[in-house]
């Protein structure tokens, strides 16, 4: 068997497959259906300093080879996470990572500081790219200044592995990535969803309560692979690739484009055990092709 262990700026993973925030709950929802201990890392749903109700229903629309969502960071807040959810997940035998969101550098930092205290959480993913909240979210992720502000504020208080999730809804994702690297990020993950819209022409209104939403699924994979390729060439820190990965072959595309690890998102809705299948598939592909480790194929494009 090939060696598919990866180390993302100190974050040790048995394999490069993580589950993407918002698509895998807190992991426990999938415990019946997949062996969580075989997943490289689980990025839990977006957590904010204060509780958030999220957006109104409807929050989802199916599209060609993809889906739109406008959940809007519904969560019970970091206090509830620490007191009620952390105890349920802290013993899961994989990397349990919190996705952190906010509406100001201060709220991002305060939330991250709380998570920093939790021994069983080795890393956070900073979400500066959520297209579904008015305040914050993508607002910070689409300018170098905004992104740097948030990352610097969090870096000051967060001492473990800091991953920053980038938005593809920009003119140059490479510029944002460089700004984030310069501000102290340990790694970047991309892409978050593409901003989209779908209209119910019979009702003459958007299929989503807030009008627009984030597009994910195989439809966006070519955009995601392009972004990973651009960013991997632009920064020195590890790149985590995501966007429409459904198979091990898809994952290998991202790794060849320069990704050190990958996240599986929407595919979890179609096959709850897909993450482990992809991890096994990557290993088998490397064996079949006589590769001893991911380094043999990473960034060959």
């Amino acid at each position: 068997m090939a060696d598919i262990k990866v180390n993302i700026a100190g974050l040790q993973m048995q394999n490069p497959v993580m589950t993407a925030s918002g698509t895998f709950g807190y992991g426990i929802e999938f415990a019946d259906l997949v062996d969580l201990s075989k997943i490289g890392g689980i990025i839990m749903k977006g957590t904010t300093l204060q509780p958030r109700e999220g957006n109104d229903y409807p929050r989802m629309a199916e599209t060609a080879s993809g889906m739109l969502n406008c959940v809007g960071l519904q969560n019970k807040g970091v206090d509830y996470f620490c007191s009620h959810i952390y105890p349920q997940v802290k013993d899961i035998k994989t990397n349990m990572i919190v996705n952190v969101s906010g509406n100001s550098p201060e709220t991002y930092a305060e939330c991250a500081a709380r998570i920093n205290e939790l021994d069983a959480i080795p890393a956070i993913e900073l979400n500066i790219s959520c297209p579904n909240v008015k305040q914050g979210g993508m607002a910070f992720g689409v300018t170098c200044e905004g992104a740097s502000q948030v990352v610097r504020a969090v870096r000051e208080v967060y001492k473990k592995t800091l991953i920053v999730k980038l938005s593809p809804n920009v003119t140059s994702i490479a510029d944002i990535a460089r700004a984030v690297e310069d501000s102290g990020a340990d790694a970047v993950s991309l892409i978050n969803t593409l901003m989209g819209m779908s209209i119910d022409i019979e009702r003459r209104k958007s299929r989503l309560s807030i009008g627009t939403g984030g597009l994910s699924g195989p439809a966006v994979k070519p955009v995601a692979v392009r972004c990973v390729w651009q960013v991997a060439k632009a920064v020195g820190i590890p790149v985590i690739g995501l966007g429409g990965i459904m198979t091990a072959e898809d994952a290998i595309e991202f790794i060849m484009a320069g990704a050190s690890a990958i996240e599986i998102g929407t595919a979890n809705f179609i096959d709850p055990a897909i993450s482990v299948k992809v991890a096994d598939g990557i290993n088998q592909w490397l064996d079949r092709h006589g590769c001893s480790s991911l380094a043999d194929i990473r960034g060959v494009i």
Partner: protein, 262 residues
């Protein structure tokens, strides 16, 4: 315990135009299933069907280790399901959701269904009768063509029907049914309640009636969903506890938990 596995199709029936009844089995024994729970089906060979399709569980034939799905053909995905054959396999994520309230000895339960919403009430009737409760069915449809499996329903309780075109039973909606009116006689009967599944306007009308007459009432919601596991937070319904996932906290809710304006 939830499972995601390929089940074997042992029966494909077409009870009426625009519907298919799929009977599924598994080599292992099917898990315990609460009436009112649902499945998420992976549809193959349908380019426009990317996500799984949630389908309520129509009936569990414990003896023959079968699970029945009564499916209305509304889009490319469901039409593909109608093209399946005996012997084909179907990838199913199940059982999902909470299901209807368990029955208690001697209680009277009125099961009100509309359209394809009658599907889960058959298994609920079975489970109620098994635990000594007394189910009565009030089923409504556009016309007689939409009132399916009536002989099956009759095995578990009295069946009253309404049709909008009057082709069977009382003409009009279930809410016009004299039966519903009569049920108010039970109002003071602690052991009477209503369980309802159908189009939202119909469920709201039934819920309103139940509220006015202080009859305990639960409804089964059909919000659009993706994961079916409470992970994606797409299918939320506003409740007194805030937004909750219909796929996990539901699909069955007591009307007092909801924030419906009734």
């Amino acid at each position: 315990m939830k499972y995601c596995k390929d089940l074997k199709i042992v029966g494909v029936e077409y009870p009426s135009d625009g519907y298919v009844l799929l009977k599924l089995t598994d080599k292992e024994q099917l898990p315990a299933i609460n009436a009112g729970q649902f499945v998420e089906i992976k549809v193959e060979g349908s380019p426009s069907t990317f996500l799984r399709r949630p389908i309520s569980i129509h009936f569990v034939d414990v003896e023959n280790n079968q699970m029945w799905l009564l499916i209305q053909l509304v889009g490319e995905g469901t039409r593909k399901l109608a093209q399946l054959h005996e012997g084909d396999s179907l990838n199913v994520l199940f059982p999902l959701g909470n299901g209807f309230t368990k029955g208690t000895e001697g209680e009277k339960v009125l099961l009100v269904g509309g359209g394809v919403g009658i599907a889960p009430l058959l298994d609920y009737g079975r489970q109620l009768k098994e635990c000594g409760a007394c189910p009565t069915f009030l089923l409504g449809g556009r016309s007689s063509r939409n009132l399916l499996q009536l002989d099956e329903f009759k095995k578990y309780g009295e069946v009253f029907v309404t049709t909008e075109d009057g082709s069977m039973g009382d003409k009009g909606f279930v809410t016009n049914s004299s039966l519903l009116g009569e049920s108010s006689q039970y109002v003071k009967n602690k052991d009477f309640r209503i369980s309802c599944c159908g189009p939202k306007p119909m469920m709201m009308a039934v819920a309103k009636y139940a509220k006015q007459n202080e009859i305990p009432c639960e409804v089964s919601l059909e919000n659009m969903m993706a994961c079916g596991l409470g992970a994606c937070l797409c299918c939320v319904e506003k409740t007194v506890k805030g937004n909750v996932c219909v796929c996990k906290e539901g699909p069955v809710f007591n009307i007092n938990e909801l924030t419906w304006q009734i």
